[in-house]
């Protein structure tokens, strides 16, 4: 399957730089998530791949062929839009059949393929309906059906879960994952939600302010985020970030963030200097008695229940940290508690550049 190559691509809308000289190479058959906050350039990136926008400079290749100036109808790409973009004046059948009509297939063949896609997505009983009579989840399936009917090698999904309510989003995510696994296509999905990236994609590209901060395997981005922004963004709840310094004390390197002191066990991992200490909420444990190498006294401020998990906000000295605890827990203001962490789970970023230094000390 063909790889997608973006070579030094830039795109501006008036004075605003949507994408600034980015390069990206996506291997055929990968499931990529473009992750980043809204307005960072994700949709522009998808539109450039689809051919709906032309880059101001740079080249776009599918395989070895230069597709930079090819119009969308000449590209082997289909796309599912954020608001689905179904054709309201056509039936579900005609919506799904649209790419097949474009291929000028015989009517029987179209009928067969639409049936096939529709039963695959379990929307075959809606085929005769108008799309305006469907619910959000059904509309999304029709939009996906239309994109699949084209049988393109590259399928793009632009923030497709954003318009769905919480419960439906969870459900669609699972279905979507199963669906993509069964097809051999190159899939690129854009999302502001790190959960999409974590649960769906093989590879994650962090897109922020027109730049790609990191493009790597999902696990690699999680374990070795390129910089402070990537570390904070990739993961939910966000990583706790604390300014700290690494100092030599009695012949022993020490991460010093006032109330949090972490000895560095291996002196070769980090040099003395100013850093940002990153602690993931899921590796910060709280309890009365803890067996982690480092245990610090803390105070509980409040708890925040998300689904069936709890984010516990705690105060450690002057720092406010978030800890992720499965299950639902009660709120007790200013209750004394212990916070524990393992030095192998912490992240260090350079204070001056924001770049990743090391994980685990």
């Amino acid at each position: 399957m063909d790889r997608i190559v973006l070579d030094n691509v830039s795109k501006s809308y008036g004075p605003k730089k949507a994408l600034d000289n980015i390069s990206l190479e996506i291997e055929g058959g990968t499931f990529v998530c473009l992750l980043g906050p809204p307005g960072g350039g994700k949709t522009t990136l998808l539109k450039l791949i689809a051919g709906l926008e032309q880059p101001d400079s740079g080249k776009i290749y599918f395989g070895d062929r230069d597709f930079t100036n090819e119009p969308p109808n000449k590209r082997d790409v289909s796309m599912v839009f954020q608001d689905f973009a179904l054709y309201p004046h056509m039936s579900v059948f005609k919506n799904i059949a649209s790419p097949l009509y474009a291929k000028k297939l015989p009517a029987l063949e179209i009928e067969r393929k639409v049936q096939e896609v529709a039963s695959f997505l379990r929307i075959d009983r809606f085929l005769g309906r108008k799309v305006t009579q469907l619910s959000g989840g059904e509309m999304q399936r029709v939009a996906i059906g239309r994109a699949l009917a084209k049988e393109a090698k590259i399928v793009l999904f632009d923030e497709i879960f954003v318009n769905l309510d919480y419960k439906l989003r969870e459900q669609m995510r699972v279905e979507f994952k199963n669906l993509v696994d069964r097809l051999s296509i190159t899939t690129i999905i854009s999302s502001p939600d790190p959960e999409d990236a974590l649960s769906l994609a093989n590879k994650v590209a962090l897109v922020h302010e027109g730049a790609i901060l990191q493009y790597d395997e999902r696990e690699k981005v999680y374990n070795e985020p390129a910089d402070v922004f990537t570390g904070a963004y990739f993961g939910y709840p966000e990583m706790n970030m604390i300014d700290c310094s690494v100092v030599m004390k009695n012949g022993q390197l020490l991460i010093d963030a006032d109330s949090i002191q972490i000895p560095v066990r291996r002196n070769d991992t980090v040099a003395a200097g100013a850093y940002v200490l990153g602690i993931r909420p899921e590796s910060l444990l709280i309890g009365e008695t803890l067996s982690t190498p480092i245990v610090i006294p803390a105070k509980m401020i409040f708890t925040e229940v998300i689904g069936s998990d709890t984010i516990v906000h705690i105060a450690v000295g002057d720092h406010t940290l978030e800890a992720f605890v499965p299950g639902i827990h009660r709120t007790v203001s200013h209750e004394s508690i212990m916070a524990g962490l393992d030095p192998k789970d912490i992240y260090l970023f350079r204070k001056d550049t924001g770049l990743f230094e090391t994980r685990g000390v």
């Binding site: 109808n73 608001d83 973009a85 054709y87 004046h89 790419p99 474009a102």
Partner: protein, 281 residues
């Protein structure tokens, strides 16, 4: 206590609101009522003093005479042909113009769009002489085409502007999606823009007809025979040598108003959107 006060205020507001509506309806319907009654009054009742508000004797002589002796059917047919053709022409040229204005960026777009609209600001009389000379040179004076071209031209800016706002409401993603399905830009124009813009296009077509249906100035200057003259001019001809034939003039007026009233009654829903530049969802 407070609640009753609020209630009384809103009642006063309601009464004022309806009173205002009734007065406005009265003001707008009075000329129509007067035209209708004049058309069925006898000639002596028309000039009777004090005026007869509710005619006691009903006389259809005006209708019979204009239909049989005054060539009104020919003028009527001209009016229909001229206005429908002009509206079709305006819409046919306006749709691509509005699409380009809605979807493309081009050099000096804002200025060009304003220049197009400014044609509507011009008092028609200022353009009358040059237009007369132009059409004389084209040998089109007193030809049905002359009014078709002028009416279409006068309405075109409005069509472009209103349809632009209709097309702006059609999500770009819908067209983009259609292109990605593998269709051409031209096909997306015909299969997405035209069907989804159809209510606006239909409204503009009817509005174009309304706006020029009673046009008088260009019609009387540029046409002078039954071949091309329209109802307003034909009606004015009735102000002849043997005095003003009020009942016949009023009968012409009533007949001219009927198609417009019917269109408004049946297509009110679409017309409101058209008149409000498509901004009502």
């Amino acid at each position: 206590m407070n609640q009753t006060k609020v209630k009384r205020e809103s009642l006063a507001f309601k009464v004022g609101h309806y009173l205002f509506i009734i007065v406005m309806i009265f003001i707008f319907l009075l000329p129509l009522y007067w035209m209708l009654t004049t058309s069925i009054k006898t000639r002596t009742d028309i000039i009777h003093w004090p005026p007869i508000y509710i005619p006691k004797v009903i006389d259809f002589e005006g209708y019979v005479r204009v239909w049989e002796h005054q060539n009104i059917p020919a003028f009527y047919l001209n009016t229909i042909i001229v206005n429908i053709s002009a509206a079709l022409l305006a819409v046919a040229f306006g749709i691509p113009g509005a699409y380009a204005a809605s979807r493309y960026k081009f050099w000096q777009k804002d200025n060009i769009m304003f220049t197009i609209l400014s044609v509507r600001f011009l008092p028609p009389a200022t353009a009358l002489l040059p237009i007369f000379i132009l059409f004389k040179w084209l040998h089109l004076i007193d030809h049905p085409l002359v009014l078709i071209i002028i009416y279409a031209g006068v309405n075109l800016p409005l069509v472009v502007w209103v349809l632009k706002s209709f097309f702006d409401e059609i999500p770009l993603a819908m067209e983009e999606s259609y292109l990605l399905d593998g269709h051409s830009r031209l096909k997306s124009f015909f299969k997405i823009i035209i069907p989804l813009g159809a209510p606006g296009i239909a409204a503009m077509f009817m509005i174009c007809i309304f706006l020029t249906w009673g046009e008088f100035l260009f019609a009387i200057v540029l046409t002078f025979s039954q071949k091309a003259q329209t109802l307003p001019v034909g009606t004015a001809n009735l102000e002849g040598d043997i005095g003003v034939l009020w009942n016949q003039i009023a009968a012409c007026g009533v007949m001219a108003a009927i198609p417009i009233i019917l269109i408004i009654v049946f297509f009110q829903k679409y017309l409101v959107r058209g008149f409000s530049f498509g901004i009502l969802k």
